[in-house]
């Protein structure tokens, strides 16, 4: 059994391993460069450094939901389950980045605004986005039939994608009606290079994670299918397996 799995599912292909190491190296380089080359911010001091983790994570969580949406549509058009597995992989990775965004945002808010949480438009929208990721993943976990799961996931991703824009708009509106809120404004040129590099580095990491999750998802799906097949059609050879 083991041998046959290894034959059918070769261990991580060489290009993916290289890509993963490359992404890691580039990430480390971007982080070090971003932290070392940027001068302390006038108001925030070294607190500003968290931007190189926080903002790219936020971007990835937004991109993640767009990726789920696109693969969901592709699944509905082509009816190929691989698109569904890709969407699910992007959801898992996107949820992690959304959580990272919330945690780093909270850590940053404590010394800056003197609270762990504030009902800021972006922070609040990110919390809603995170919950939409969770809902998507929980529904998948509870739905057993894979075709049904794929269709439902695509439908949920579609509505969630539409909603994410409305959520941001409404929360922003809600806050601005109540109080004027200071916005970070544009980034000083001194930070731009480190910022850009980290966005790209996070994109690589994101892609690596999604591809890896996708490969695992395919293997899991295939093994489950085999187990089911074997359970339905037992023969002498496999009775003890």
């Amino acid at each position: 059994m083991n041998a046959s799995i290894e034959r059918d599912y070769p261990l991580t292909p060489r290009w993916l391993t290289l890509f993963g190491w490359g992404a890691l190296a580039f990430l480390l380089l971007s982080q070090v460069l971003g932290v070392l080359t940027s001068p302390p911010d006038r108001d925030m001091g070294d607190l500003q450094k968290i931007m190189y983790v926080h903002v790219p994570s936020a971007f990835m969580s937004l991109i993640g939901y767009a990726v789920i949406f696109v693969f969901g549509i592709l699944y509905l058009v082509k009816r190929d389950l691989r698109y569904d597995l890709l969407a699910a992989s992007a959801a898992q990775v996107g949820a992690v980045f959304a959580a990272a965004t919330l945690v780093t945002g909270s850590i940053w808010a404590r010394p800056t605004w003197n609270v762990w949480w504030t009902w800021d438009a972006r922070l609040t929208s990110m919390a809603v986005l995170f919950l939409m990721y969770v809902g998507y993943l929980v529904l998948r976990a509870f739905t057993e039939d894979e075709i049904r799961r794929a269709r439902w996931s695509a439908a949920i991703a579609g509505l969630g994608f539409i909603n994410s824009g409305i959520v941001y708009m409404s929360v922003k509106w809600w806050r601005t009606i109540h109080q004027m809120q200071s916005t970070p404004g544009t980034i000083d040129p001194a930070y731009v290079r480190g910022f850009r590099m980290n966005i790209i580095a996070f994109l690589f990491v994101f892609a690596y994670f999604v591809i890896s999750r996708y490969r695992v998802a395919r293997v899991v799906r295939d093994v489950e299918a085999r187990i089911e097949e074997r359970a339905l059609a037992p023969n002498a050879e496999n009775v003890h397996a």
């Binding site: 529904l139 269709r151 579609g158 539409i162 409305i166 409404s170």
Partner: protein, 227 residues
């Protein structure tokens, strides 16, 4: 299938659901008393200060509607699932979206009836000047339409999996954030009056939300129900 026969099918579904509900009343009574209970509990939790209660009333009222509604949506599909009748319904010729529209209408009627009783109770408990703001009823209806639209849609999935009781709110409530915000803000400025409140822009947001999701769920329902 002509449009009018689709309407007839939707009406038949709505009539069937409402008749089943009218004859048992089990669900209606349970949800009604549950929502009244929540109103009371919020009152206890927020304290007896009359002014504070009035300030919080719009939020309390909408959360109560949300909690009550989320209990009733799954039920609307469970009736069919228990007898395996959903498959039979799906076998009928014609557009399956008629099924969605029918259930939506039934759920809407159900929730509006709950509100007809609930809102006066809230007005008494929280000292709200109901009659001074006629626009409030429009806001109530708009908010309920959006809520029921998404609720009926998500219940079509949630009612058919394990852990449906927790799955439906988990899927539904994050989607309702814009609706809750605009409904509460509009209600607040209409009933309590606040200086910066601008009900009309929130009402516009409610209308946009309702239209977008009525259209989106109408088209997405096919993918949810097909087997």
């Amino acid at each position: 299938m002509s449009l009018s026969s689709e309407f007839a099918r939707a009406r038949a579904i709505a009539w069937k659901d409402l008749t089943a509900e009218r004859r048992t009343k089990a669900n209606f009574n349970a949800v009604l008393f549950f929502t009244a209970l929540i109103l009371l509990l919020f009152g206890f939790a927020l304290g007896p200060d009359q002014q504070a209660l009035r300030e919080a009333a719009a939020g309390v009222l909408w959360l109560t509607v949300l909690f009550g509604g989320v209990l009733s949506f799954n039920r609307s599909y469970e009736m069919e699932l228990e007898g395996g009748a959903l498959e039979a319904l799906l076998l009928y010729p014609g557009d399956r979206r008629a099924l969605f529209v029918g259930k939506l209408i039934a759920n809407l009627a159900f929730l509006v009836l709950i509100e007809v009783i609930l809102v006066p109770v809230a007005a008494i408990l929280y000292d709200l000047p109901l009659l001074s703001g006629g626009g409030f009823f429009g806001v109530l209806l708009l908010g309920t339409i959006g809520f029921v639209t998404l609720g009926t849609f998500y219940a079509a999935m949630a009612s058919r999996v394990r852990a449906r009781e927790v799955l439906l709110p988990l899927l539904l409530f994050p989607m309702l954030v814009p609706l809750l915000l605009s409904a509460v803000e509009a209600t607040k400025s209409l009933l309590v009056g606040n200086l910066m409140g601008d009900a009309s822009s929130w009402v516009r947001l409610l209308v946009v939300f309702d239209v977008i999701f009525l259209v989106a769920t109408f088209f997405a329902f096919e993918y949810v129900i097909e087997e």
